[in-house]
């Protein structure tokens, strides 16, 4: 392949500018106040059921944002925390939030306080329930295990960026019979949550869940723009597949060969 393939071809300009246009168009229109639709993912019903069960049994809820710090994943976990706290505040159920990042800890405290105020029960906010345990992976995990067993929580919710400590938490949540719902974009941890939790929100659903709850314009617009981008990709693949199938059936039709060759040139195949 010649030097040319390390620079953008016309196909790149068309496809990438189309994708970039959709994403920026939707973000900017969302920021100008236009209402964008995001469907309610089934995981949120599982989350509400977990909170409901805790209020029935009158036992606290654990909300663990994993090792995420002050990044996109951590901030969206805070949007889900706010939803959980507001739901739990209606029935006076405690929400315990163990954190592994000192900066996210301050954000979590603010989020919890605002949520209780929004529900009109500021006195329910207990600073003791928002705890910074440790920034060391396994030290944080063993701290959370201590909380699970001491508080005998009814529901354990894991939302954020997780590494291998997901195993320790899921095992101990299972031992105390808690209903467990997890959500993480970290694909390598999703199988372990799937195998041990009652419901798991997987991959991009994590961003959809927090966008649905927080209605944050940049995130909403980005998700809707990305959906349109995926439709473009599916369209390209469908066209290519039809062209190659037709070429395979009628191999010596002139224009079909040219079409498939151009496609193969712009979408290189081994």
């Amino acid at each position: 392949m010649s030097e040319a393939s390390q620079y953008a071809s016309p196909a790149v300009w068309i496809v990438e500018s189309l994708l970039a246009f959709f994403i920026l168009w939707k973000i900017l229109s969302a920021r100008r106040g236009r209402e964008l639709f995001i469907r309610r993912i089934p995981g949120l019903s599982a989350l509400d059921e977990a909170v409901g069960r805790a209020t029935e049994m009158g036992r606290p809820i654990l909300f663990a944002p994993g090792l995420s710090g002050l990044d996109i994943v951590g901030l969206q976990s805070m949007a889900i925390l706010s939803h959980v706290v507001r739901k739990a505040a209606k029935y006076g159920t405690r929400v315990i939030v163990p954190l592994a990042d000192p900066v996210l800890y301050t954000v979590a405290e603010e989020v919890a306080k605002d949520a209780y105020n929004a529900e009109g029960v500021p006195e329910q906010f207990d600073a003791e329930d928002i705890r910074f345990l440790s920034d060391r992976q396994f030290a944080w995990a063993s701290g959370v295990v201590g909380i699970l067993h001491r508080e005998q929580v009814a529901s354990a919710l894991y939302f954020g960026y997780y590494f291998a400590e997901s195993l320790i938490l899921a095992e101990n949540g299972q031992m105390i019979g808690a209903i467990q719902v997890a959500g993480t974009p970290a694909t390598t941890q999703i199988p372990f949550f799937l195998a041990s939790c009652d419901y798991t929100i997987i991959g991009d659903e994590y961003y959809a869940a927090s966008a649905y709850l927080s209605r944050e314009p940049t995130l909403l617009g980005s998700l809707v723009g990305q959906d349109m981008g995926k439709l473009v990709i599916i369209g390209i693949i469908a066209l290519g597949s039809i062209a190659f199938t037709a070429n395979a059936i009628w191999p010596n039709v002139g224009w079909l060969c040219d079409l498939t060759n151009t496609i193969a040139k712009y979408f290189p195949r081994s």
Binding site: E3, A4, Q6, Y7, A8, V12, W13, E16, L19, A20, I23, L24, I27, R31, L70, D71, I72, L75, V103, V107, F138, A164, L167, I168, A170, E171, Q174, M175, T187, P191, F192, L194, A195, S196, D198, G203, D204, Y207, T218, S222, G225, Q226, G229, K230, I233
Partner: protein, 276 residues
Amino acid sequence: MISFWHWISAPRHGWQLTAFIFGALAIGCGVLALLASTTPRYRKTLVAAVTFLAGLYYAIEFLIPPSLWPLDPPRNPFSEVQPLVGTLTQIIWSFALFLGVWNLFLIHGRAVAKRSRGWYNSAAFFISFFAIMGAGLLKDYAHGPVAKVSQSVFTILFSGFLTSLDATMFSLIAFYIVSAAYRAFRVKSLEAGLMMAAAGIIMLALVPVGAEITNWLPSTGFLSALRVERMGYWLLTSPNMAAQRAIAFGIAVGGLAMGLRIWLSLERGNFFDRQL
């Protein structure tokens, strides 16, 4: 203009070199002082401008091929300076490697100073930090018996303690998998059952014993498809490949969206602005 450039880029020696270095540092500090004095209103635009221009470099380097540049012979000048950009970013980036050390010194320094609970662990942190750093530097720069002792101390600290501590810490996860396998992995739904079945077949197909288990099946013909390594390998190369590609396309578009949001500083109203 060219001669000024030659004058600037010519290497210096002796006292001239020292003067030029301190001159450069002085100019640098001046720019930093200027930066420090900018009013908060311009700070956000300055950071957004720096981010945009930095992104523009690699965008143009890719998006505009040589044929479109009005240069003879046709070339993309941004690609020509790639090696220099590579080296520059490498050096500036390596200055950031001491950030973590600074943070650790703050935490453990405070623990030792206040004699808080477990302060001796923080003391052990400092001792091992300076022991291995000292042994490393001494074995390179000292001579005679000092170099020899520090070489053996370095070997003991590095291939003795450090590599074993790192490897053992990482291997703890295997134990958590074993206890989770017995006490946490519960098939509570059909989909979890499907995942565990696929995982089981693939786990057996990857290891040599998988081939032994179904070795009694014929190796050709229809029945051969039921051999563990065949089933596992088909799962990996067909359904798993398609599912991973579907996830990859989601990451592709997500990466483009994330890149645009960072490049154009569209992340408003949260942690990006907290320090501005």
